[in-house]
């Protein structure tokens, strides 16, 4: 079997160890690679028109050209809002609204405005409920940098005065912010706030093919939660980013504040029952699929691309999950030894789905991985298989009517969704 050639922009051991374990040969990104783990800056260059770069059929790369549509905070919100509006226009049952004008099935992101562009809209909304807390986040940053909480308009005014925001030059991504309703009733465990970091692999947007990694984790704050306004600027209470929490004096480097999603499930099922736990995880899968569907129309579905996203999700105390953001390059730095094992396995499982073991890399392959190659990934949604499902069900029901027998459930076939 020919040795594959890989290129890699990041000197991360969980990546390198994987490539080396497979006996792959490292090459420069400029050379002929089969597999390129690139960082987001370089992706932009590769796919820019000027570069004139053309990928061939045996080349894979780990980002979609315009993944920003999903992974930049403002664009994600814009796309999800548009997706809901489009469904509403179509009269889709998915776009059903309740008496307060809220989407029943698609209300999974906190209310959000862009700043400075939506400033007036925001002020209007703020005045309706002056006692709510909002969270300001720069669109072009990550790891909790530049985030602050706001509960008075004066704080925003100060921000716009201090900032370089100028009416004469349009703001760049780094200067634009989103302001979202702060989820002030997060589910607490042991009195502490946490969020989920889930890994979602997409191998195609059209038709949508996505996979949920079973070994996601919860990221805990090191300090007890406290919604008191005096604590609004204590980031150890409010921001769950590991890069923030690591700075805290109560940070524990053995577990790094990371608790597996499997343990979360064990806890919720044990203390609240199976139905409640099932419902929560179903809703998480649901929101993930719809966040992807929301951008499937605008992401250019290049056959050479796949992407492993880091989803940030907060669960509130009614056990409703909220999508906070999607990261294009979730951290591959291992903070603890189990973290290292998990991330190593993540990369290994990603590779096995993108390039089926024992086969040569070929972007034209069916993208229907065999069950044994899924590793710790579950199929979240496969549009192609789902449509085939509908078709066979229709045929079956017709045949069933004709012959008067009921079709038995076939348990061996790969399923098209998580359910």
């Amino acid at each position: 079997m020919a040795k594959l050639r890989y290129a890699c922009d990041q000197d991360k051991s969980v990546l390198m160890n994987n490539f080396e374990a497979r006996g792959w040969i490292q090459v420069n990104p400029e050379d002929d690679f089969n597999f390129y783990w690139a960082n987001v800056q370089n992706i932009r260059n590769i796919f820019s028109i000027e570069s004139g770069y053309r990928l061939s059929d045996d080349q894979f790369i780990n980002h979609f050209p315009n993944h920003m549509e999903l992974t930049r905070k403002d664009l994600m919100v814009k796309n999800i809002k548009r997706y809901r509006k489009d469904l509403e226009k179509e009269g889709s049952p998915l776009a059903e609204k309740d008496e307060n004008g809220r989407f029943v099935h698609l209300d999974f992101i906190p209310q959000t405005f862009m700043l400075p562009s939506d400033y007036n809209l925001f002020v209007e909304e703020f005045r309706k409920n002056p006692n709510t807390t909002w969270i300001m986040k720069p669109c072009g940053k990550a790891r909790g940098i530049g985030i602050f909480l706001v509960n008075k308009l004066s704080q925003l005014k100060k921000w716009s005065r201090d900032g370089k925001t100028n009416v004469f030059t349009p703001p760049t991504a780094k200067e634009t912010y989103v302001i979202s309703k702060y989820i002030d009733n997060p589910l607490l465990i042991g009195g502490k706030k946490f969020d989920l970091r889930l890994y979602v692999l997409v191998t195609s947007f059209k038709p949508l093919k996505c996979y949920m990694y079973k070994l996601g984790f919860c990221r805990f704050c090191t300090v007890k939660y406290n919604a008191n306004v005096n604590e609004l600027d204590n980031m150890f209470v409010h921001l769950t980013n590991v890069s923030i929490q690591k700075q805290g004096e109560d940070y524990n480097s053995i577990h790094g504040g990371k608790w597996t999603v499997q343990n979360l499930r064990l806890f919720l099922e044990g203390t609240r029952g199976k139905e409640i736990a099932d419902k929560l995880f179903d809703e998480i899968n649901w929101l993930t699929v719809h966040s992807l569907k929301a951008v499937s129309g605008c992401i250019s579905n290049d056959r050479h691309c796949f992407e492993c996203y880091g989803y940030d999700i907060i669960i509130d105390d009614n056990l409703k999950p909220w999508l906070i953001e999607v990261n294009a390059s979730p951290s591959l730095t291992a903070t603890t030894s189990s973290d290292r094992i998990m991330k190593y396995k993540l990369i290994s499982d990603v590779i096995n789905i993108v390039i089926p073991p024992g086969e040569l890399p070929d972007v034209r392959w069916s993208r229907i991985p065999a069950k044994e190659n899924l590793g710790s990934f579950d199929i979240l949604y496969d549009e192609e298989l789902a449509q085939a499902d509908i078709l066979t069900q229709e045929i079956k029901s017709r045949v069933g009517q004709a012959t008067g027998t009921r079709g038995a459930r076939d348990s061996k076939r790969t399923t098209s969704t998580w359910k």
Binding site: K192, K224, N252, H255, K258, F267, T271
Partner: protein, 524 residues
């Protein structure tokens, strides 16, 4: 019901009746009977029927059955013909060893006091009490400084005591389970593999089990759904024996909390709530050196454990009141060889009247004690429920794991069971390990002593403990320990040093206990 029940003759009926008299149920029955008799239309000839009616009333029947079942279970767990007084017979060398061990622990506590210049117990000032009560649910962050404190003893210290028991010049009279290569050389009667197979019959491979992490399979799904429906019926029945029968094949995660309460006979009422509050106020009033040991233990174990760190503050809310609970002490005095340490109230040394048990529960925690509580945090989110389930588990099972006795469920017997099983069924492996100077028990002992908590993944500990409760036996711990050695045999056969063997067995978090136990029990 359990076969053991039939072992009890008239003597036991009397004992059961005696025990019943201290129960709330008894008072309730008496009162109702009195009322019945005092009714004007009461006829002596109707006595029998009206009493029968009374028993069948308002679920009393079930409560009564549960009470008797529990009594029998606790006493059957010992399935020993030797009365407790005899076990405490001072000529028994096991008892002597236990006593001198307790003395040693107490001595080390006292020297810690002297060294750190802190008293064993101290009353908190009013101000301190107030502060302490405010941080009751956040003791992890705001608790005292205990950097000076060190655990009084760890499993390996206790293992030394256990192994030192060999010195006694004794040859086993019965050749059943003769422990040739092991380090436990005490005449104890252990079950054989065949007996264990019968005992744990419900776990056999040809029977479906909850908690098997098999492939998603349609039959598996149907099985789980049916189990949940059946389990709900079992819970509705409120009968302890039914819950045990059901749980022999495992409980499903969402029913486990209720099933365990049912098996342990826990129903939290106002009196229990008050009692917990009383213990809590005892904690607020007095600070004990033991508290620091408990803090330290949580900090060294659960706080650093990726399965349990989120529960840190719950653990204090259970462990601190526990150390004040004299119900635990009473249980130890009545059902074990333990003779907990006593101390005198300050200034009254030598005056019998002022002698008190220290701590009030009689339990001095060892390194890892908090791990008896930690897995329960996955089942109960209210500290009070957590408290009572833990207390009951401790009084039924866990105390046996750190007290020296000839109890067939005690740590000595479990250790020896482990050794004899391994010797009989993995002779080659045992011989190899022994020849490279690595006694298997030296590695397995801490697993047994902590009932595997903190070694296995959290879901697996719960699956294991399901079986302890359901079969009312700790012997499954030894079986699992043997199974782990079998499972890692290939690598263990290659080791040449003790630390290499330790390395092979260092990480158990990836193990699935059910297939392992089945492998060990039913695949030979």
């Amino acid at each position: 019901m359990n076969d053991d029940c039939f072992m009890y003759g008239n003597d036991h009926q009397v004992q059961v009746l005696q025990a019943m008299k201290t129960m709330e149920l008894y008072a309730d029955l008496m009162e109702t009977a009195q009322k019945e008799v005092n009714k004007s239309n009461f006829k002596l000839t109707d006595l029998q029927t009206s009493i029968e009616l009374m028993f069948n009333d308002k679920g009393r029947n079930g409560t009564l059955k549960n009470a008797i079942y529990k009594y029998i279970c606790i006493h059957a767990a010992k399935h020993s013909e030797v009365p407790i007084d005899h076990l405490k017979d001072p000529i028994s060398y096991v008892f002597k060893a236990q006593q001198s061990w307790e003395k040693k622990i107490m001595k080390s506590l006292n020297s810690m006091c002297t060294e750190l210049n802190v008293p064993l117990a101290r009353q908190r000032t009013e101000k301190e009490q107030k502060e302490f009560s405010q941080m009751w649910t956040a003791l992890g962050a705001d608790g005292p400084d205990f950097s000076q404190i060190r655990p009084v003893y760890a499993p390996k210290d206790f293992l030394e005591v256990v192994t030192s028991l060999n010195n006694v010049n004794y040859r086993s009279a019965n050749n059943n389970g003769f422990n040739l290569w092991g380090i436990i050389q005490i005449p104890l009667k252990n079950r054989t593999m065949d007996e264990l197979r019968i005992q744990f019959n419900e776990m056999s491979i040809n029977q479906w089990q909850s908690g098997m992490d098999d492939e998603q399979d349609i039959f598996q799904e149907i099985f789980h759904d049916d189990r949940i429906k059946l389990g709900q019926k079992v819970i509705a029945s409120k009968l302890a024996p039914l819950a045990c029968e059901f749980t022999k094949k495992g409980s499903s995660i969402s029913l486990r909390g209720d099933l365990w309460c049912q098996m342990l006979g826990i129903k939290i009422d106002d009196v229990d709530v008050l009692y917990y509050e009383k213990l809590k106020s005892n904690v607020l009033q007095h600070e004990l050196l033991i508290d620091n040991l408990l803090y330290k233990d949580v900090k060294l174990t659960a706080t650093n454990d990726d399965h349990y760190f989120v529960f840190e503050d719950f653990l204090y809310q259970v462990l601190l009141p526990f150390s004040r609970d004299t119900v635990v002490l009473r249980n130890l005095l009545e059902n074990s060889t333990a003779t907990p340490a006593r101390s005198f109230i300050r200034g009254k040394v030598g005056m019998e009247h002022f002698e008190v048990y220290y701590p009030p529960s009689g339990v001095i925690p060892f390194h890892g004690f908090a791990m008896y509580v930690s897995p329960l945090c996955y089942l109960y989110k209210e500290p009070i429920k957590l408290y009572y389930v833990f207390r009951e588990l401790y009084m039924c099972y866990f105390f046996r794991l750190h007290v020296l006795s000839t109890d067939p469920q005690g740590i000595l017997s479990l250790s020896q069971l482990f050794e004899t099983l391994l010797q009989t069924h993995e002779a080659e492996l045992f011989y190899h390990l022994k020849s490279v100077n690595c006694q298997p028990l030296k590695i397995a002992f801490k697993w047994l002593m902590r009932a595997f908590s903190g070694f296995l993944a959290s879901d697996q500990v719960l699956i294991l403990w399901d079986r302890i409760l359901a079969f009312n036996s700790l012997e499954i711990l030894s079986v699992l320990a043997v199974a782990i050695f079998t499972f890692r045999k290939t690598n263990l056969m290659k080791v040449q040093t003790y630390s290499a063997a330790e390395g092979v067995l260092a990480d158990l978090t990836t193990l699935q206990v059910l297939p392992l136990i089945q492998l060990s029990l039913f695949c030979k």
